[in-house]
Structures are given as structure tokens and as C-alpha cells.
């Protein structure tokens, strides 16, 4: 809402400055975005053009003007400047928008004492300007309007009452302790009887009033009216349209003017549209209506889309002589739906959908009719045609002083409350500190006790509330899942991974290589093709980040993301890891390229934080290298996958050699863990022995380890794989694996023979079960 300060002053005696009112509104009512002058220049004055003389050899003209009784000479280049015009001049000392300074200058040997201005030179939005050249003031105009200020309010949807100057006046009045001066509106009626008859045949229209204004002249509006509309941000068109807009801004009630002579009868019937009914709105679009829309008909044809837009055929044109003026009350929800469906949002529809004040419907009609007669040199026919449903009685809200104070947390007195209700002009009754407020129609936003508490709170000023913490005593702590998440993240960062956050929406096809079954969650109206489904795997997002870095010559990247993945059967927390390049920062003496075992080590690290160990099985997912990837299984449950990303997938990202892992941390957190019992630390020394075997190249090392455990050797504590070797003198299809075996037994010191005997039974067991040879 652009509130003209001078317009506001018609309702209130304001001594404060517009800026001060702006601060008060922001603090106590609604945020003021800006307080700015309507004409963005100082030293402006009205002037009468006394004479215009051509200057030889120039298209400029020497103008003599009268400014407040003083004659001044101004050289002007505009072609439309003429004797007897009233114009706006910027006098020496003025600064125009864009920084242009006005001073006395010599032009063609003539001393020019200012500038005759066009509206655009005064900072008026070009969309409001219909003319070319300097601005010629039409009709009566008070020079004070040149100094008007605009208070631009950012309104929240509940304060529809501030969508009018009168509504703002009530608010500013409450803030400055003043009562609004309501102007008396009297309509001078002619002898002609208003011939119209109104019939409401829908539940969606609550009141409809109409007047006939005859013998008017459609023409340009007087200056004061045009300036008011420009201040409100509305483009002046002609006197009839401008008056409907003026009254709408003034009182908040949208109006519609029909060309009386284009209506085919004097019966106005308001009904719901028929399904698929066609109607041409005044923007020349053919609209297809539904039974939810409201149409105004002249008994034969629809002539307006109720509350949204008029029809092309009955529009007021320059040739219009007689006007039928409508002021009505429509159901807000219906207007909202219609205007949204047809994408016809206007100042009118906005007011209707937020709810207009029922007590101003007739007032607005009369004010506009009277103005039309005055500014269009016409007459208002006798009487108002109307159809009005019984209005609801004023809403009553009850509230106690105790509830007010308990909610705000501040001890207010009964007098405080009553003063505030008076300032807001809310009628109330009080008994035993229990208030009953009768809500006036202009404040239909006030529905419940809490709405009144807000009125009181904001008028008292939230600055005056004390500050303290809730007295509720409760235990604050993170859940075990949240603690574990933070611990794992901290470890990963210690290992060199940085956290990334990527978008949840992507494309199903990017996930496909990394998931077993696609069950995508799709968005009904995606913003674009790349944002159609929710991610089912974290890997594509990580690859995108890696690809971004690769493209910028950053080739060592270790990242993780902790995020949900989403499928039609639910969303679950996952951890994704991705590595490319070297493990540590580029170094002069140590570089280790990422490989399968690096990422596997990271996975093992994470699993150890969950207190679990996994087994690794061949993985069958298209996105992974067929021989450098693994399914991670814990206690028989799949908890993730990891490995080298398949080169064909990486090619789409312009990448090579990226290793990733994706773990289902939600499942990991649920894996049953038995907390291990305490064992005293053994005082016995360990015996270490290394044994090497020559095995087929394809044999997994885990077969040897498993084989040793199955052999159940006495005193065996642990087995480690300490070396894997391929090459001479081994055959091409062979490799050598060296194991380190740890033996220890409580209360026993091993003799060499005892050790040898155990190692022998161990090697014999492996040789027999795996058909391999010991390498000596």
C-alpha cells in the first residue's frame, strides 16, 4: 500500500513528519518499506506561462512565467509549451532525480531562471505518463501536492483494513492518539428515477448496490485526482475509471462502472457462471468460466466477472454518456479462486479476496457517484438499486485481563487495556476484568482473543515487554543418533573429508547406476528437468561436486555428505563418501593415490565407530567397477556399497578414478551390539610367526584367514595379512600371501617346539582345505 501523506491528513490532524509516522507504523503496526517524496525533487513550484517567444536559430523558446507573483524567464525546449498553461517549474537550487542541478544559466544570451519539468524529469514512473513533453497541469491543483510524501507499507495478508487511506487513518490515529474525522457524503440526486433492479441468485454475493449517473462527459481527470492516483501507484485513464480507483484507494471498496447504454436491460442478475460459459473480459480475452465463478448479467448476457474484471462490451469508453455504477460485496474465497485460475490479479480482486469492510459498500458508491456527477458534469439519478443479504451481527470477542497479562508476560492495568481499545476505536463492555469487544466491520481480521492480545501487545509496544527465559524445566540433550552422527562427522573430517550439502532434487536417470531398484518420488510441478525427482542415491550429487572441482583444476578431493535418500517407500539417512586424486594434500615427498583399499579403510573406520564389522561381497551395480567394488554386509543386513565408480559413468561427469561409498547409517544405528565383557589385559608375551603361501591369483585373501580360524589352532589370538605379492618367480596366475599369526596362552610360556607344532598344523590345515602350497 502506497499511502499518500497528504491524503492521510484529510482524516487526521497530524503534526508528526511522514518519517516519524513511518517509524511508528513499523514499530506498532506494519513494516514501512520506504518513506519517499512523490516528486523526487525540491524547489518545485507551480507557474503560469505568460508568454512564449521563439529564439532565432534555436528550437528553444523564451518563456515568461509567473511564479507566486514573480515574473521569471525560463528557456524551454519542449514543443508543447504554450501561453496560459499552468506548469511545474524547478527553481534554481533544485536537484532532480539523477542528480541534475538547476541553476541560473545563460542560454542563447538569455538568463534562464529554472526549468519547466516533464513528469519523468520529476521521477514519476513512466507507466503513469501518457503525454509527451512538459507536464501541463489540468484544472484546480494545490501546489502543496508537489511536496507530498509516500509511505510505502509492506502489508501482511491479515491487515486488509490497511488497504485504504481511511483504514490507515484509523491505524495512524490509534498510534497518535487521535480520532478519525469522517467526512459527510451527500449525493445530489436528479429527478430521474434509478431504473435498475438487482437480483442476487448466488450465495457468493452478499450485497449489491447500483446507481445511475447520467449525461456525463468522459475526459481527462483534474490534476489533483491524477496526482492522487500516481501517489497510490495507479495509472490515470479517464475521469470515470479514475474515480472508481480513487474511491477504492480511499475507502478500500472496489467499484465497477458500466456503460449504461450497452446493458440490454435494467435488471442486474448476479449468479454463478455456467460450466464452460464463455465471456470476453475488457482485456479482450475470451474466458471460459466454471460454476465457481460469479457473473454479473444484464439479465441476458454476462457483463462482468464479479469482483475480478468487467466485460469488453459494457466498458466505459470516451463516448459513454450514462454510467451504471456498481458497489458490491463478494465472497472472498470465490474471488481468490477465480482471479488465481484466470491469472487476473488486480487491485480490486486483491481487496475482495482479503475482505472489504461491509459498512463502506454503500458509502463508496455514493462518494463515487457524487464525484462522477461533479467531475463529469452529469447528474445522479434518484435512488439506489440494491439487494442486500442480512448482515451478520458484529462479532463479539471475550477476553480477561489475566489472560492478556499471562500471554504477554507484562502486568497491564485495566486502564491500560481500556485506553488501547479506545485508541483503536473498538467498542467494548467490561465486567470483573472481563472484556467483551464488539468488532467493527472494518476490522474483520479480529476473530479471537489472541487477536486482541496482539492489538494490545503492539500498541503497548513490544519494546516494553520484559525479557526472560521460560520457567519450564526440562532435560536438554542430543539423542544417541544425533551424538553418533556428530562423532562420525568429526572423525571423517579428521580423516580429511569435507562435508558438502547438495540439492535433494535431481533426475532419476542419474541415480539408476547406483541403486538396485528405482522407486523415485516425483514432483508434480518440477521447476525444471534437472529437479524432477528426489535423490535415491547420494553418489550423483557427490560426483557433481567432484566434477565441479576437476573442471577448476582441483584434483585432490575428499568429500562426504550426510543426507537422506528418498524412495516411494520412505526416506532414510545415508552417508556418502567420495575420493579423487591423492589422499593427503599435495606433498613434496609423499603422495598416495586413492584406491579401492583407501575407500575401504574409510568404510571400516566408520563401521568401527558403530561398533560393527562387515563382510564384503561382490557387488552387482552398473555404476561400479565390476571387480573393484563391494557390497557391505553387517549381521546379514546390507548396509551399503563401495568401490571404484565405473569408467563409463565417470565419463558422463568428465572424470576418471573416483572412489565412493554409500552407507545406510539409519540401518547401522539399529544394528544390535552386545557390549563386550571386560577381560584383564594379558601379561603373557605374544609369539609372532609369519607364514607365506602361493595361491591362485583369484583366491580371496579372506579364504586364508577364514581357513585358519576354522582350523581352531590352540592359543591362536589373531591373524593379519601383511603382504600380497605377484610376479617373478611366481607364475602369472599365482600370487603369494603372507600371514602373520599371533599365539598366546594365559599362564604358559611356549617352547620353540610347541610353536612349530602349532604353525605346522595350521599350514597343513590350509594346504588341505584350500589346495595351496606353503612358500618357504
Amino acid at each position: 500500500m502506497n499511502l499518500s501523506f497528504q491524503w492521510l491528513k484529510e482524516y487526521l490532524n497530524i503534526t508528526a513528519s511522514p518519517q516519524e509516522i513511518g517509524v511508528l507504523l513499523t514499530k506498532h503496526a506494519q513494516e514501512v518499506a520506504e518513506v519517499r517524496p512523490l516528486f523526487k525533487a525540491s524547489f518545485l513550484a507551480l507557474a503560469q506561462v505568460l508568454s512564449v517567444e521563439p529564439i532565432e536559430g534555436s528550437k528553444n523558446k523564451k518563456c515568461t512565467v509567473n511564479v507566486n507573483g514573480q515574473q521569471k524567464t525560463i528557456v524551454c525546449g519542449a514543443s508543447n509549451v504554450a501561453k496560459d498553461q499552468t506548469v511545474i517549474v524547478a527553481l534554481p537550487g533544485a536537484t532532480l532525480p539523477g542528480g541534475k542541478k538547476i541553476e541560473v544559466t545563460q542560454l542563447a544570451g538569455i538568463s534562464s531562471e529554472g526549468m519547466i519539468c516533464s513528469l519523468s524529469e520529476l521521477g514519476i514512473n513512466p507507466k503513469f505518463i501518457q503525454e509527451e513533453g512538459i507536464h501541463v497541469v489540468q484544472g484546480p491543483f494545490n501546489a502543496e501536492a508537489l511536496e507530498d510524501m509516500i509511505i510505502e507499507l509492506d502489508l501482511t495478508p491479515n491487515r486488509m483494513d490497511l488497504l485504504s487511506v481511511l483504514g490507515c487513518a484509523y491505524e495512524v490515529g490509534a498510534l497518535t492518539h487521535q480520532k478519525v474525522k469522517l467526512p459527510l457524503i451527500s449525493v445530489t440526486e436528479s429527478a430521474t428515477k434509478n431504473p435498475y433492479e438487482i437480483k442476487i441468485e448466488t450465495d457468493d454475493c452478499h450485497a449489491y448496490y447500483g446507481r445511475l449517473i447520467e449525461n456525463i462527459t468522459v475526459k481527462e481527470s483534474p490534476e489533483w485526482l491524477k496526482v492522487r492516483l500516481m501517489a497510490a501507484g495507479i495509472r490515470p485513464i479517464n475521469n470515470i475509471v479514475d474515480i472508481t480507483n480513487y474511491v477504492m484507494i480511499d475507502l478500500g471498496q472496489p467499484l465497477h462502472a458500466f456503460d449504461h447504454d450497452q446493458l440490454t436491460s435494467n435488471i442486474i442478475r448476479i449468479r454463478n457462471a455456467n460450466a464452460k460459459e464463455k465471456f470476453t473480459t475488457l482485456d479482450q480475452q475470451v474466458r471460459t468460466l466454471t460454476e465457481k465463478d460469479i457473473v454479473i448479467t444484464d439479465d441476458h448476457y454476462p457483463v462482468a466477472l464479479g469482483g475480478v474484471m468487467g466485460g469488453l462490451d459494457s466498458e466505459v469508453t470516451p463516448d459513454t454518456v450514462n454510467v451504471f455504477l456498481e458497489s458490491a460485496l463478494f465472497e472472498p474465497k470465490v474471488i481468490s479462486k477465480t482471479s488465481r485460475r484466470l491469472d487476473l490479479r488486480s487491485e480490486s480482486s486483491m481487496r475482495f479476496e482479503r475482505g472489504v469492510s461491509p459498512d463502506r459498500v454503500l458509502l463508496a458508491l455514493n462518494k463515487a457517484a457524487q464525484l462522477m456527477a461533479e467531475l463529469g458534469s452529469g447528474t445522479v439519478a434518484k435512488g439506489v438499486a440494491e439487494a442486500v443479504k442480512k448482515p451478520a451481527p458484529p462479532r463479539q470477542i471475550e477476553i480477561t485481563l489475566a489472560k492478556i497479562n499471562q500471554t504477554l508476560g507484562v502486568p497491564l492495568s485495566a486502564l491500560d487495556i481500556e485506553t488501547i481499545f479506545d485508541r483503536l476505536e473498538l467498542p467494548f463492555k467490561v465486567q470483573n476484568e472481563r472484556y467483551q469487544v464488539a468488532v467493527p466491520p472494518r476490522r474483520i481480521d479480529l476473530e479471537i482473543a489472541q487477536d486482541l492480545i496482539e492489538e494490545i501487545g503492539r500498541l503497548v509496544g513490544y519494546d516494553h515487554l520484559p525479557s526472560h527465559l521460560p520457567s519450564t524445566v526440562s532435560e536438554g540433550q542430543l539423542s544417541p543418533v544425533q551424538k553418533k552422527r556428530r562423532q562420525v562427522k568429526t572423525h571423517l573430517e579428521g580423516l580429511g573429508f569435507s562435508e558438502v550439502i547438495t540439492y535433494s532434487l535431481n533426475q532419476e536417470k542419474k541415480d539408476l547406476p547406483f541403486i538396485k531398484t528405482s522407486k523415485p518420488v516425483s514432483i508434480l510441478r518440477p521447476l525444471n528437468e534437472a529437479n524432477q525427482t528426489l535423490k535415491q542415491s547420494l553418489v550423483p550429487g557427490l560426483l557433481d561436486v567432484i566434477s565441479y572441482h576437476q573442471a577448476r583444476q582441483i584434483e585432490d578431493v575428499m568429500i562426504y555428505e550426510w543426507s537422506k535418500s528418498y524412495q516411494t517407500d520412505g526416506e532414510s539417512e545415508r552417508l556418502g563418501l567420495a575420493m579423487m586424486g591423492r589422499v593427503n594434500e599435495p606433498s613434496w615427498n609423499l603422495t598416495k593415490a586413492v584406491d579401492f583399499y583407501q575407500i575401504k579403510g574409510m568404510v571400516e573406520h566408520v563401521l568401527s565407530l558403530y561398533g560393527v564389522e562387515a563382510s564384503y561381497h561382490p557387488l552387482d551395480l552398473k555404476g561400479y567397477h565390476p571387480h573393484q567394488s563391494a557390497l557391505v554386509v553387517v549381521s546379514g543386513k546390507t548396509v551399503g556399497q563401495m568401490g571404484h565408480v565405473h569408467p563409463l559413468v565417470l565419463r558422463d561427469y568428465d572424470l576418471e578414478n573416483v572412489f565412493v561409498a554409500e552407507l545406510d547409517v539409519a540401518t547401522l544405528a539399529l544394528v544390535e551390539k552386545t557390549s563386550p565383557a571386560y577381560h584383564p589385559v594379558s601379561k603373557m608375551p605374544f609369539v609372532k610367526r609369519d607364514v607365506a603361501f602361493t595361491v591362485p591369483l583369484t583366491m580371496p585373501a579372506s579364504d586364508l584367514v577364514d581357513g585358519i580360524h576354522q582350523a581352531q589352532i590352540d592359543a591362536l589370538q589373531n591373524v593379519e595379512i601383511i603382504d600380497v605379492y605377484q610376479g617373478s618367480p611366481l607364475k602369472e596366475n599365482e600370487k603369494s600371501i603372507t600371514l602373520r599369526v599371533y599365539l598366546s596362552k594365559e599362564g604358559h610360556t611356549f617352547k620353540t617346539e610347541e610353536i612349530d607344532q602349532r604353525i605346522k598344523s595350521l599350514t597343513d590345515a590350509l594346504i588341505t582345505s584350500l589346495k595351496i602350497t606353503q612358500r618357504l
Binding site: 514499530k27 513494516e31 501482511t156 495478508p157 491479515n158 474465497k333 481468490s336 499471562q406 500471554t407 504477554l408 508476560g409 507484562v410 479471537i448 482473543a449 489472541q450 487477536d451 492480545i453 496482539e454 501487545g457 503492539r458 513490544y462 519494546d463 515487554l465 520484559p466 525479557s467 526472560h468 527465559l469 521460560p470 519450564t472 526440562s474 532435560e475 536438554g476 540433550q477 539423542s479 544425533q482 562427522k489 571423517l492 573430517e493 580429511g496 569435507s498 550439502i501 547438495t502 540439492y503 535433494s504 516425483s522 514432483i523 508434480l524 510441478r525 521447476l527 529437479n531 528426489l534 565441479y548 577448476r552 578431493v557 526416506e571 593427503n584 594434500e585 606433498s587 613434496w588 615427498n589
Partner: protein, 342 residues
Amino acid sequence: MKEFETIKQRFLESLSACKSDAEIADLKAEYLGKTGVLTALMQQMKDLPADEKPKHGAAVNAIKVFIEDEIIRFKEKKYQERLTEKLASEKLDITLPGNQQTPGVRHLLNQIVEEIEDLFVGLGYQVKEGPEIETDENNFEKLNLPADHPARDMQDSFYIDPHTLLRTHTSPVQVRTMIEKGGLEPVKIICPGKVYRRDDDDATHSHQFMQIEGLVVDQNTSMADLKGTLLKMAQAMFGEDRTIRLRPSYFPFTEPSVEVDVSCYQCEGKGCSLCKQTGYIEILGAGMVHPNVLKMSGYDPDKYQGFAFGIGVERIAMLRHGIEDIRHFYTNDHRFLKQFKR
């Protein structure tokens, strides 16, 4: 006993000439061995008168101890000399960088989330999380936003089907928590998480962002409690000296509703370009929980009241660090992320 002194003298000269452990061993044998100098000296004893024997024996023993000590001392000295030489040969260029594993960093948004979580956990709050795919009922209807509410226009959303959408705020977690508590006990929670709105991405808009909402419901929770809580958070986020300002606003789920500004930390409230000359910067929305919201989640609004607030994590990060484009958070450029080490 001049002879003894001469032996000592001669031994020391030989010892200092030794070049290796083997030469020292030979020298030791020459003096202390079975056929060595000291054995010969001991043999002289039998030719001495009885009263001189003990004195002679003691003197020979003293030389033996002397020689053994000198050998140990000499060996230690030689060892230290060799070590010094070795250390000198091991001189490194200490200015070359170390072989470190540079730690990674937590994403700035999660750093801020954790900071706020820690603050509120310290104040006795629980951290509650919930699904991002929500029902229309939990995301809108139970928050006093029925299907035709004009405010739904304020948050155009990603629907999955007519009843399911990506949550537009973390408020549904509040609804879920209240329902879980059955309307019978106080609630004191914060709810961090990802939320989604159908906005085109630009420098100040993101279709995905992070939010933290807070909710306290009890029998006497007041707006003054809300103000104190928000002041504490503003000071934790923007510095001890900050003040806050509450302005009237509108949210369908709270009544009264306020917009909360923090005093500008750049100009100390005097007015600058950051605060658009107002001295204040808007940081969050808050209010007293609307009685309809309490009712729909099983709390009797005549017995219970409460406050709620919601804060955008990106906004806090952008304000605190002067970050100019919200898309940086989701581009994940290392050179951006690594600037925010804790």
C-alpha cells in the same frame, strides 16, 4: 708409588689413541687381562713385606677401578662424538611442509545448526527431527493453514500428490512432537532441517534451504519468555552487545506474530548500508502459538500456551560472514567451504 702413576699415565695415553671398540678391548686386556700389567703388579706383592701387602693390594685395585671407569667414560665420550656427527649428517630443511592429513571441514550451514543446537540443549531443549516428505495435513492444515487460506500463496510448494509435499518449514516436526506428547506435558524443542519452496534459484532465493524452528508449550509460557529466548540466540549468533526489536507481523500459526530484528553489528545501530540505514537487520519470525494449532495437536488452549520461532540458517550465515549469494552453500566449492574452519 711413582710406578703406579706412570702406569696410569701410560694407560690414559694409550686409551686416547684408541680408534675403535676393538682397540679398547685390546687395551683393556693388556692392563686387566690374565697376563696383563695389573696381574704382574699383583704378583709383585708376594715379594713385599707383610705390612706393605695390604697397601699394595689396595693401590693395584684402585688402578683397576680407575682403568675400568676411564674405559666407560671414554666409550661414552666416543659414542657421543659419533652421535653428534650422525645428527649433523641428518640435518633436514625444516621449512619443507610436513606430511599432514589436512582435516576437512564441517559445512558452514551445519556448523551454525550445531551452534544453535548446543545453545538450546544447554537451555534444556531437545533436538527433534522429522520427515522431509510430509502430509499436507501436518505441513499446512494442522498449522492453521486450511486449503483455501490466502497465506498458502506465500509458500508455493513442491507437491508429490495432492496430499503429500516436501515440507515448506520444519513446523510439522512441532506438530508431530505435540501429538506424540498427547497434550499432557510441556514441550521444549528445536527442529532443524532441510525445507523446500518452489522458488527459482538466484542470489537470494533457493528452492532448498535449512531452517531451525523452536517451540515451547507450557501453562505460563509468555511473550516475554519468547523475547528473552530470542535475545539470547541473537547474542549467541551476532555478539554479546546485540539487542533485538520485535515488530508486529503475521503468520497463520502464531498470534500475536512478530518479525524479529537484531541491532546492526556493523554500525552498532547508527545506520549503514547493511541495515539499509535502519540500524536493524531482520533475522527471524516468531510468535505465540495460535490456539487452533494447539487444539489440533491435542493441547487445550485454555490451559496451555506457548511460543514458536523459525530462523533461516542460510540467512544467519550470509549475515554473519557477509556471503553475497545463497547458491554458494550448494555449490560446495572447496575454496569456499574451507574458509570456515572451526
